[in-house]
Subunit: 198 residues, 2 copies
């Protein structure tokens, strides 16, 4: 979920630059709204160069989701995230979505792909399912501990609450795109209010 890993940033090679731009276009315009030509033009290479690195758009799309899944796992296991108390882990999650919002109101990966899901290659579909499942499981665990330690309050199971919250956050970024940043903030505040009410 994090946008950039600020580790030793070498000048990115073409392969990575393709993936970065494709991700940008995916999150800003949708998977069926950009072509190899778009990528090539903006990167200053020929379309065939993209095909060299990612033979088909299926390959490119799958690489995109796979990288995001790798990032999620890395982020989740980061000491500065994993070692936090539940309420701060939750805030760290909200910060990621807030980062998307600030970044030209990008939607999240899930929100970008869900509507067009049936037009996606099966390998992308499978990866996206895994991504969503792992994220939900992580949050469910956070919520379970949060409630057990008394910092969070909610009815129903942690799994149900996690699913509901993540769905709301994905949707909130979409609403922000259609309107402006305000409804996103309103929704997030509402979620927070309900989760941390006394």
């Amino acid at each position: 979920m994090p946008t950039q890993v600020p580790s030793a940033s070498l000048p990115p090679d073409t392969r990575t630059r393709i993936l970065d731009l494709a991700e940008e276009l995916l999150l800003e315009r949708g998977f069926n709204a950009f072509s190899y030509q778009h990528l090539a033009r903006e990167l200053g290479v020929k379309p065939a160069a993209i095909h060299y690195h990612y033979p088909s758009k299926d390959d490119l799309g799958t690489a995109l989701v796979t990288r995001q899944l790798r990032r999620l796992r890395k982020w989740r296991d980061l000491p500065r995230v994993a070692d936090l108390p539940p309420n701060q882990q939750f805030e760290a999650l909200l910060a990621v979505y807030d980062g998307h919002l600030s970044h030209d109101r990008r939607v999240c990966l899930f929100g970008a792909l869900a509507a067009d899901f049936r037009t996606l290659p099966t390998s992308m579909q499978a990866e996206l399912r895994t991504f969503n499942r792992e994220l939900t499981e992580w949050l469910a665990q956070v919520l379970a501990v949060g409630r057990a330690t008394g910092t969070m309050r909610f009815v129903g199971s942690p799994a149900a609450k996690a699913l509901q919250v993540l769905t709301t956050l994905a949707g909130a970024l979409q609403v922000a795109r259609v309107h402006d940043e305000t409804p996103f903030q309103v929704i997030v505040n509402q979620v927070r209010l309900e989760l941390f009410q006394p």
Copy 2:
């Protein structure tokens, strides 16, 4: 929001059949994933016939959203909806989303268009904003009365709660598409549980 108005159903003319099929493809595959050829082939006419009724895809898309907006207003003002107590109005809303789910797991109009929003003609964007705004205002009113009359319980403003709930419902249909019907039911139950808890 209702899928079909069961009034005196004459055999639909081509103009309507185009709109019906376009809506089906929009809600099942996304706006950028169907073409005039797809429509024409399935309707047994030539692509130029579609252009005759809807000169450009912009026109078609706009007509699609406009019709949905008309349906929303009609549904909302229907005696069998408008005259209901708030909790039953809310259940009527949930029934609409449940109808989408049953109908081959279609997403709602908002969920279908939000991700690709920036690729849409401005007239579609404007109509979709109006659609979402009016639906939110309606639900806010329902929630306000529901809380005032003691049948519903929630913290925060009715407007914030309405925005949150509708966003969650739109997202829930997307989750259903990516996984299966189960998470949709889980999310809706969670929403209900929180709204009607004692």
